[in-house]
């Protein structure tokens, strides 16, 4: 199986879909009922560079002030110091020295504004562009990507989520085949993909032969689609078990020095695994880093988080660059909200969805761009407010996905990739 192979069918499907979106043809009249309205259609990326996404999610709400939107010298900074970055006049939190030296690769969006101030709701909104509802589950970006443009490698999952995935919206209302593979640990490999050591290859094959033989009368009797699907999947499973692509999950194939560089923790190793997976054709990989919910003891907790983030993120950017992958891999750093400029009685910061920061790099992003601004205390967006749907539309735009394309849920409700969000086109080179 060659890498980055997009099956012919899905390529054609994508071309057809993209055309209908761009030309506004092929839509049912009923779509117009819900469409944003004539003339409100969204920008289409003329120069799509991103094929893959590595999405780094800071779970719990990353303090924007102590990381990428510091206010040097102001009392809101508490005990956090700052350090100059590679971009003129732009400082970052002092815990991010390695990343500071690479800031010219990033576009920084300082003006995110969310309407959701609780973790579950904020996390859901950030991942789907829709607010959490009790009647529907919306797809996350990885599922949209695979839905629109297919898998990158037929043997491997289309998208992978590592870390705190228990609330991840996954495939939403799409079929389960669009669900991301959830990995709890980066170094555990693909679950159950290896034959148990206690079973010899000979015994394994004997068992399969036995199963096939004993099951034949059942297959002769019930020639149903789902029955056949299982038999086909056994073939696929056996192919996968022998596949070279399985090595994508094997971190031990990386030199010790490389592993070290990413940091000896789940996040760092997850970043490294993300690179391997993308190399092997997985198109969307999310890696999360938790414990950003620093209501108490912010100025001890945040430096600890930053240490892990800084190592993993900087190693990832450098590694992608060295492998020539940064050009077509979009790296995103996002969180559900920022944290209060005001320091509470427990030396902590509370939830703050009103103004916070996210980062983009690679995949056509113009490095060194600073977009949007908060006021002197980081409390209000002062310039170029960006909604969560806008931010997600920007990711979709980078990938060349049809932002206007309406997709109906099984309950016949119309949805688009980033709801009504408009991409920030000025971030692209």
């Amino acid at each position: 199986m060659s890498l980055n192979q997009l099956s012919e069918l899905s390529r054609r499907q994508f071309a057809a879909r993209a055309a209908s979106a761009a030309l506004g043809v092929g839509l049912l009249p009923v779509d117009r009922l819900f469409a944003a309205g004539a003339g409100a259609s969204k920008a289409v990326n003329p120069n799509v560079r991103a094929k893959n996404v590595i999405y780094l999610y800071m779970a719990g709400g990353m303090s924007h002030l102590d990381t990428f939107d510091p206010k040097p010298g102001h009392e809101v900074m508490g005990a956090t110091g700052t350090v100059a970055s590679k971009v003129d006049g732009y400082h970052v939190g002092e815990g991010l020295k390695r990343t500071a030296a690479l800031m010219d690769r990033f576009a920084v969006v300082h003006s995110l504004n969310s309407t959701q101030g609780a973790h579950e709701q904020g996390n859901y909104f950030m991942h789907t562009s829709y607010t959490l509802r009790g009647t529907i589950r919306h797809p996350a970006m990885g599922a949209w990507l695979v839905h629109f443009s297919g898998k990158g490698n037929d043997t491997l999952p289309g998208s992978v989520v590592m870390g705190e995935g228990s609330r991840h919206p996954g495939a939403g209302f799409f079929e389960s085949k669009f669900s991301p593979l959830m990995l709890n640990q980066p170094d555990g490999g693909l679950q159950n993909s290896k034959r148990k050591d206690s079973v010899t290859e000979e015994a394994f094959n004997r068992r399969l032969e036995m199963a096939r033989h004993l099951d034949q009368p059942f297959h002769d009797t019930y020639q149903h689609k789902n029955v056949r699907a299982y038999r086909d999947l056994y073939d696929e499973a056996l192919t996968l078990m022998k596949s070279e692509d399985l090595k994508a999950f094997d971190l031990s194939a990386e030199p010790a020095a490389t592993r070290e560089r990413f940091g000896n923790d789940d996040f760092g190793q997850g970043c490294l695994l993300a690179r391997r997976l993308v190399q092997h054709g997985v198109r969307f990989v999310e890696v999360s880093l938790g414990k950003w919910d620093t209501h108490v003891n912010n100025f001890v907790e945040v430096p600890e988080r930053c240490d892990i983030l800084d190592r993993g993120l900087s190693a990832l950017i450098q590694d992608l660059e060295a492998n020539g992958m940064l050009a077509d891999t979009l790296v995103v750093l996002a969180s559900e909200f920022g944290r209060t400029p005001k320091i509470n009685g427990n030396e902590g910061r509370d939830h703050y969805p009103k103004a916070f920061t996210a980062l983009l790099a690679g995949g056509g992003i113009k490095g060194g761009t600073i977009y949007g601004k908060t006021d002197e205390t980081g409390a209000e967006v002062a310039e170029n407010k960006v909604s969560i749907p806008d931010f997600n539309a920007t990711i979709g735009y980078a990938l060349g996905l049809p932002l206007d394309q309406i997709v109906f849920s099984p309950s016949k409700r119309p949805f688009t990739l980033a709801d009504k969000g408009q991409p920030i086109t000025s971030l692209f080179s």
């Binding site: 005990a79 036995m210 019930y222 789902n226 038999r231 696929e236 009685g345 427990n346």
Partner: protein, 719 residues
Amino acid sequence: MKILPFFLSFAVFAGFCGGQASGGSAWEQIDALLEKNYAAQNIKPNAPAPDATLVRRLYLDIVGRIPTRDEAAAFIASTAPDKTPKLIEELVGSEGYTNHLFSFWADLLRLNAKSNNNQLITPHYAEFIKAALRENRPYDEFVRELLTTDGAAWDSGAIGYYLRDRGMPLDNMSNTVRVFLGTRLECAQCHDHPFDKWTQLDYYKMAAFSYDMDANYRPKLGEELQGYARKAGKKGVKLQQVKGMKEAYNEMMRPLRYTAIQREEKDLHLPDDYKYDNAKPNEVVAAKTMFGPDAPGNLDAYAEWMTSKENPRFATVIANRLWKEVFGIGLIEPVDDINDYTKASIPELMTFLEEQMKALDYDLQAFLKMLYHTKAYQREASREEILPGQLFHFPGPVLRRMSAEQIWDSFVTLINPDPDASPERLIEAAEEQLTMVHKVHESLKALDKDELLEGMKAVAATASQGAQETRELTAQIAEARKAKDEAKVLELSRETKGFRNDIRRDIREHIYEPGWQKLVASGKASEVFGTEEAAEPFATKGEGMRMMGSKKSGSRGGAGLDGKDKRDYMAKGMALGIKDRQELREFVEFMVKMTSQAQRAANLPSPAPNGHFLREFGQSDRDVIENANDEASLPQTLQLLNGPYAEALVSKYGVLGREVMQEKTPDGRVDVIYLSLYSRYPTQAERDYLAPLVAEFGDAAYKDLVYAILNTQQFLFIQ
């Protein structure tokens, strides 16, 4: 149990007018209606299912797992003419039935312990549902209770119904209508329904009924106190201390979040951007039912209307859903998108089922028994595949893949010797946690305002001291970091970690405990919690910690086991005839592991975590209604080929492993495997195929056979 002789003329069912059967039994009338339809459609019904097929199907459909070897063998061996009806009567209403039907409800009602607001209530909500199933509470009564129960978690688990949709009262209403009336209203939340007649105004009028059910529980005490603290601040209490008091207050109240539903009269307004002529934006909406007789605008009347026999959809929906559970496909499909033009595939039969449901006063067990007793159910599954949209005439049930829960529970049956039992430990743990929260509530209530304020002040004082210390430590850490003294950074950081726990400990000492002591002294503690509990301090250190989210270790309450459990397993092992000490130890280890893992799905968290066997096989994520699926997927085949549970299944300490090795002859061993997994004896052809393999590979061949069968589709599908 009597089966009436089959006698049914056209006159009987033509003259049928609801209520109890007037000629044959109700199930015979169902068969007669189906047979009339076979004749009209020129269809031949399937042959009666052989005993082995039937026993496997009955166990899977009614108790949600394959029969044990003994259960299968006993049924096949029995020559009693009434063995099938007897088995149906025995299984419906058993604990296995409760466990199985629980999955049905958990999927419909989206029982979800993942989200913050449902972590505490979900186990109790689940117990409420299980109790209703166990006691066979009439369905209409059960629904009324869900729709109208307010109060605290320790009063009734039924408040889980509104807590589930906390902050989303409008969505909650569309879910109610979809689940109980099979009607989709959610499109009308933001605009008139594009495919049905419902307007946005209809939607809001319905939502106005349940809008009073408030899941944002704010104890009155809280509001008063906050005001009081503000005033105290003005009177010269230092700013830092007031700041500290806010944190103290939040922390003190934290355990009470998401513990109650309050019924409070509230106006529901139309949205600001309401765009139709029939009302004005932001107008207050008066409650009105969407169809059928109107109901006065209060919640009880709404629940009455919903579950009334006059409601045109209430009985239809549950009758059709249960028919689908039994036969694999509904008379109305989809089951929850009913509109004025919906027609059942066999309208006469749908009407009959609806009338039966009402005549039985929503006795779901009796209704299900009726369906299982039909000849149609007891026929072979249809060989033809029913495509979406195709009419099905029920010559027999549909071939189905087992649900995720059925597959998992069947594995449990093959590993755990007592598969249907509910693990007391889990129930106890959930109850203990609830008692803790209840104690917090009562202890806070026992204190008067001044006492509370004094307590909070004390907490705030230590907290502000703690904050000061933390600031100093933070500065030292920064120094150490500059000096690249990693060890020192680590050491100092560790010192700061206890901050939050210190605050919690202070709250316990200065607020909860004094409150509790007052409660004990007044005699109220023993009144509410019993004398045994009242004799205890507010919380042992462990309990207090656990209540705040961390695990209590080494006690009966948690998932941990104490020495007594191990001794019990030891005794069990000896009773099973295990003599060797090493083997006995291994047996105990296996049992300890399996007691926590190989439990029926109904006794595991809802939903099971991502990546769990159950989720791989399509268990609903319990985020949206009926979200389970039976699609084949790669992780499933990998799980069956290489997963740990297939391994446990052949362990010599599991049920199957033990039973196989107890047999002495090769034929006997093969029989055990076939009976345990397929609920039948092998055919001659299968025996002939297996004999040389057993001769060549010896004991290994039995393991091979078990693995092989697990990886056949015959195992996964219900014929």
